[in-house]
């Protein structure tokens, strides 16, 4: 294997807080959509019989968190918002009582929420909004024989613009009330 391929393989892969945050964001969106569109089925899966409107509100909350995580420059506040939502979910599950709840399903749901909460907390505490550091320096790779500023427009003196690549005269720059007819 060449040095280039060796070096490329040496680049670390695997879960990072940033990747985990993205994953949690998408998870939030998916769960939120399910709660919004299928509230009864979601409640039944959790072993509960509750007002569908409540589940829908939880869905809106999940979607808001997901959008926040995926769009914010720093997702940590949204990850903490997710964590707060997890606590609310757990409280809702824990207070569900018979005959309106299926204990086994509710217990499994509680365990799942607890696992996701752990992921949220890990991600919120480990995430660092650091700018990606360059791995190589290409600041001298211009491909040009001189400073770019000195070469600005160098091709204009001997390049004949094809007529079909011209934009209409009315859209070209105007000076003194007339279109500029450069390089005609």
């Amino acid at each position: 294997m060449s040095d280039v391929a060796e070096r490329s393989r040496a680049v670390p892969r695997g879960p990072t807080p940033a990747r985990m945050a993205r994953g949690l964001g998408w998870f939030s969106l998916a769960l939120g959509a399910a709660e919004l569109l299928m509230p009864r089925q979601v409640a039944r899966a959790c072993g509960m019989r509750v007002d569908p409107a409540l589940v829908r509100w939880y869905g809106v909350r999940e979607i808001a968190s997901g959008i926040g995580i995926l769009t914010a420059r720093d997702p940590r506040p949204w990850l903490w918002a997710r964590t707060a939502g997890d606590v609310l979910d757990m409280a809702t599950l824990a207070t569900a009582t018979r005959p309106h709840a299926d204990g086994t399903r509710t217990g499994v749901a509680l365990l799942n929420v607890a696992a996701v909460t752990a992921a949220d907390v890990w991600c919120a505490t480990q995430y660092r909004p650091e700018a990606r550091q360059p791995q190589r320096d290409y600041s001298a790779r211009s491909g040009l024989p001189d400073a770019p500023e000195r070469l600005r427009g160098a091709a204009r003196k001997d390049f004949r613009m094809p007529r079909d690549m011209r934009i209409p005269a009315a859209l070209r720059p105007w000076r003194d009330g007339k279109p500029v007819q450069s390089d005609e």
Binding site: T71, R132, R141, S142, G143, P145, P148, M165, L171
Partner: protein, 393 residues
């Protein structure tokens, strides 16, 4: 011979396959000296282009030596050193005669499929799905070049492979992207994407005299290379593209906007990018057009949108009302490579530009599959990969 073959999404392998043979009197067989992985190869790698079949040979940026010539091919002879344009051209049809080589009417041997997909066929392409002819590509030790008497650029011995290889695609693609903006010395040109095509576009816009060239990306190595070429850069991870472009143009927006990204924009922190991801995942949209939307929004009224980035199928939620009301001009298309190569080869010979600046990784063909992943993930500072068949792995 050895060749890089597509076996499915994210599955490229270096396989042993049969050597190509002359199938038509206009053909030529080229022994590869260098080939490259193009950004648009990643659309195939990621499974976004329809019409691929397991076992297809990849690659449409390549060059080498002519080792065999068909009986009717009078333009080439054994030993000629050629770069092969990625668009296969007959040189005789109405479109070729007009210089619209990328929409050659005769070279797509799967014309019926292309007619159904696009309404009318476009040119055959190397290694770019069966919709464009299903021609084996050039990431291999040898390749058959159909219509080779028209589809070639002879290159002089005094220039290295690295200097001329990109005449087959990315250099003329960047050049055409800038040319079709009809750049004036008063123009600000904004270029989305600092990948290989974006880098060539930056230099082209500068040489064609743009007052200000701005490049938008997020990868630090690519932004540094863009600055080296004379661009002002915007890191969309850390800055607002719209605000910065307005700041740099006194609130009026750039006159010319170029999409050197295409169907797989990696926008983050925007609702529309999330929307595209979801729609793409459930197969309700093939392409992610965040850059197109942003260009329409920021472009100055009466401005030009130039699109060299490849789109494959269907896009959604394009603010066409804004485009209409602002009177924007759209220019797009695959590159008419042969239209520009004589002029660009002259510029390389005269030293006005050396396109080899963009090469960051050179390796053997056998290392190709791993480098597809490195290139896709933008790891190890990877911007452009050149593969040398026959080089030690």
């Amino acid at each position: 011979m050895k060749a890089l073959r597509w076996h499915g999404k994210h599955d490229i392998r270096c396989d042993n396959v049969a050597d190509p043979i002359i199938e038509h009197p206009r053909d030529a067989i080229i022994k590869m000296s260098a080939c490259a992985i193009c950004g648009s190869d990643l659309h195939l790698f990621d499974g976004f282009m329809p019409g691929m079949k397991s076992g297809d040979i990849m690659g449409h940026e390549f060059m080498g030596e002519v080792v065999e010539v068909g009986a009717e091919n009078k333009a080439l002879k054994k030993g000629d050193r050629v770069v092969v344009p990625f668009t296969i051209t007959c040189g005789e049809c109405d479109q070729c005669k007009r210089g619209n080589f990328s929409v050659c009417e005769r070279t797509n041997r799967n014309k019926d499929a292309a007619d159904k997909m696009f309404g009318h066929t476009t040119a055959g392409l190397f290694g770019y799905s069966h919709l464009t002819g299903g021609y084996p590509g050039g990431q291999a030790e040898y390749v058959r070049v159909p219509f080779a008497d028209s589809t070639h650029v002879k290159v002089p011995d005094e220039l290295t492979d690295e200097q001329v290889l990109f005449l087959g695609d990315i250099f003329p693609t960047g050049w055409q992207a800038a040319v079709q903006c009809d750049i004036e010395p008063t123009d600000t040109v904004a270029i989305w994407g600092a990948g290989p095509v974006g880098q060539m576009t930056i230099r082209s816009a500068l040489l064609l005299g743009a007052k200000q060239v701005i490049c938008i990306d997020r990868v630090p190595e690519r932004l540094a290379m863009a600055r080296a070429g004379g661009a002002i850069t915007i890191d969309f991870e850390n800055e607002s593209v719209v605000e910065r472009l307005n700041e740099l143009t006194q609130g009026k927006g750039p006159e010319k906007c170029i999409d050197a990204v295409g169907m797989e924009s990696h926008a983050t922190r925007s609702i529309d990018a999330m929307y595209d991801r979801v729609k793409q995942a459930v197969m309700l949209e093939t392409d992610r057009p965040h850059v197109l939307r942003e260009m329409i929004y920021v472009c100055r009224p009466g401005g030009v949108l130039s699109i060299p980035g490849v789109y494959g199928g269907l896009i959604d939620k394009i603010p066409f009302g804004a485009s209409l009301n602002k009177g924007l001009t759209w220019r797009m298309g695959q590159t008419h490579v042969k239209r520009w190569t004589d002029d660009l080869l002259r510029r390389i010979r005269e030293g006005q530009i050396d396109p080899s600046f963009v090469i960051t990784h050179t390796a053997s063909l056998e290392d190709g599959p791993g480098l597809y992943k490195t290139f896709r993930e933008k790891q190890d500072g990877c911007i452009k990969v050149v593969l040398k068949p026959g080089a030690p792995s």
